[in-house]
């Protein structure tokens, strides 16, 4: 932003030295990721990819390895670019954001974190310090992005996560979309799927709902009809993959 002369801040505080915000910790059934954790660290973490394969799916297609060596989860979420991938990931994982300011710390669900393009719930005098993810048994997640070229921002991407009950039905399921003007997750489809056993018919229906729920705009990456089609197509794909992963999952 500064380099493109879109921003000229009066003060610039380098928080790269806040190494205490660079951590990945498991506390019982919560995974805590510090805001200064780099993309590269997330991608390389075996624990993260075992618990939340969606994170590795996404991290593999965020920017490029050199950018991933610098970019952080906190920076990504706070930048709040509409085409940013980790927001969708965090939302479908039902993550929450820990925000610290002069008046202490508050925790909000990720779905309330973003308040429009380039706007978040973090106030001027606050800092995002960590993101927390609930760890659930028999869960699976997946992310898929269509891009014009490796390293490009998403034309459209979709993420899904689900956890299975003992009877194999979906205890909880979440679907999100990147770059198509969708605030939060696809709740209508989630409500439809919750409590039912994963099936191709349901996923097809969920895809249809997702395509309807989003509000893409035409740009150089593609026209509206194509983006809606991708919302549908990718939602089906990630649900299928998440279901297979949930079924195979050993984590209890």
């Amino acid at each position: 932003m500064m380099k493109l002369r879109l921003a000229r801040p009066e003060w610039l505080i380098d928080i790269n030295d806040l190494r205490e915000l660079d951590f990945i910790l498991r506390n019982g059934d919560v995974l805590r990721v510090g805001a200064m954790t780099r993309h590269a660290t997330l991608l390389e973490s075996a624990e993260v990819s075992r618990l939340f394969p969606i994170v590795s799916d996404a991290e593999r297609v965020i920017a490029d390895p050199t950018v991933r060596n610098r970019g952080t989860i906190g920076g990504s979420l706070c930048q709040a670019d509409p085409a940013e991938d980790l927001s969708t990931v965090c939302e479908v994982l039902r993550g929450s954001a820990v925000i610290r300011g002069p008046r202490g710390e508050r925790v909000i669900p990720l779905t309330e974190f973003h308040q429009g393009p380039y706007e978040t719930a973090v106030a001027q005098n606050e800092l995002l310090t960590e993101v927390r993810f609930p760890i659930r048994p028999r869960s699976g997640s997946a992310y898929e992005k269509v891009e014009r070229r490796v390293g490009d921002w998403a034309i459209v991407a979709a993420g899904a996560a689900m956890s299975l009950a003992d009877d194999g039905t979906m205890d909880d399921v979440a679907m999100g979309l990147t770059s198509v003007g969708l605030a939060g997750t696809v709740t209508e489809a989630e409500d439809l799927l919750r409590g039912k056993a994963p099936s191709e018919e349901l996923f097809v229906e969920a895809g249809r709902i997702a395509a309807r729920a989003c509000d893409p705009v035409a740009d150089q990456r593609g026209p509206v009809d194509y983006k809606r089609h991708l919302a549908d197509e990718l939602t089906r794909r990630v649900l299928r993959r998440a279901a297979v992963r949930a079924t195979d999952s050993q984590e209890g």
């Binding site: 380099k3 610039l12 390895p65 050199t66 950018v67």
Partner: protein
């Protein structure tokens, strides 16, 4: 503001404007012009340097953010008079044409090999995927990195020694023209 860092093994300290990008600091202040600049949007990777051993785009890092860090540029790749195997590999396998992307490519390759001494083609391509080369079509770069992997340097803990210099270019020893 005053910043200090280690560049190719040498301590440097300068007073700079806070907004100066690391790439401009390296090129204009330290006069190490092997690090290039090629885009406004962090997409091209001609500016890649190693920061604490990790490849970063120096156009996307403020010089101030490199304060206290260890920076290595292409000028610091050769140890003493000996070329890094990566440099040798690029010459052996025609991994460069115009040479503009080459410093960044070689530094990324060096970091990759330090982490993964025997990368396969896919891993090499992935590693350099944030860096554009307009000349080579990449295949010879991949071969160059593999050449380097197959010819590791004898002593891996040699220290790089090329500090900042005022020179524009040095003369090239004739015996290295053909090998």
């Amino acid at each position: 503001m005053q910043i200090s860092m280690t560049v190719n093994g040498a301590e440097v300290t300068n007073v700079i404007e806070p907004r100066v990008l690391l790439v401009h600091y390296i090129r204009d202040v330290l006069r190490l012009t092997g690090t290039h600049w090629g885009c406004d949007t962090s997409n091209c990777g001609t500016c890649v340097v190693l920061m604490d051993g990790t490849p970063v785009k120096s156009c996307t890092v403020l010089a101030a953010m490199a304060d206290g860090r260890d920076i290595r540029t292409v000028e610091g790749l050769a140890a003493g008079g000996t070329l890094d195997p990566v440099q040798q590999g690029f010459m052996e396998e025609h991994g460069l044409q115009c040479g503009f992307c080459t410093p960044g490519m070689m530094l990324t390759a060096r970091a990759l090999l330090d982490k993964n001494p025997h990368p396969d083609d896919g891993e090499i391509r992935e590693a350099i995927s944030g860096q554009i080369c307009r000349c080579t079509g990449y295949a010879t770069i991949v071969r160059s990195v593999k050449w380097a992997a197959e010819h590791p340097r004898l002593s891996d803990n040699e220290q790089a020694d090329a500090g900042p210099s005022e020179e524009f270019a040095d003369t090239i020893p004739a015996e290295e023209v053909r090998s």
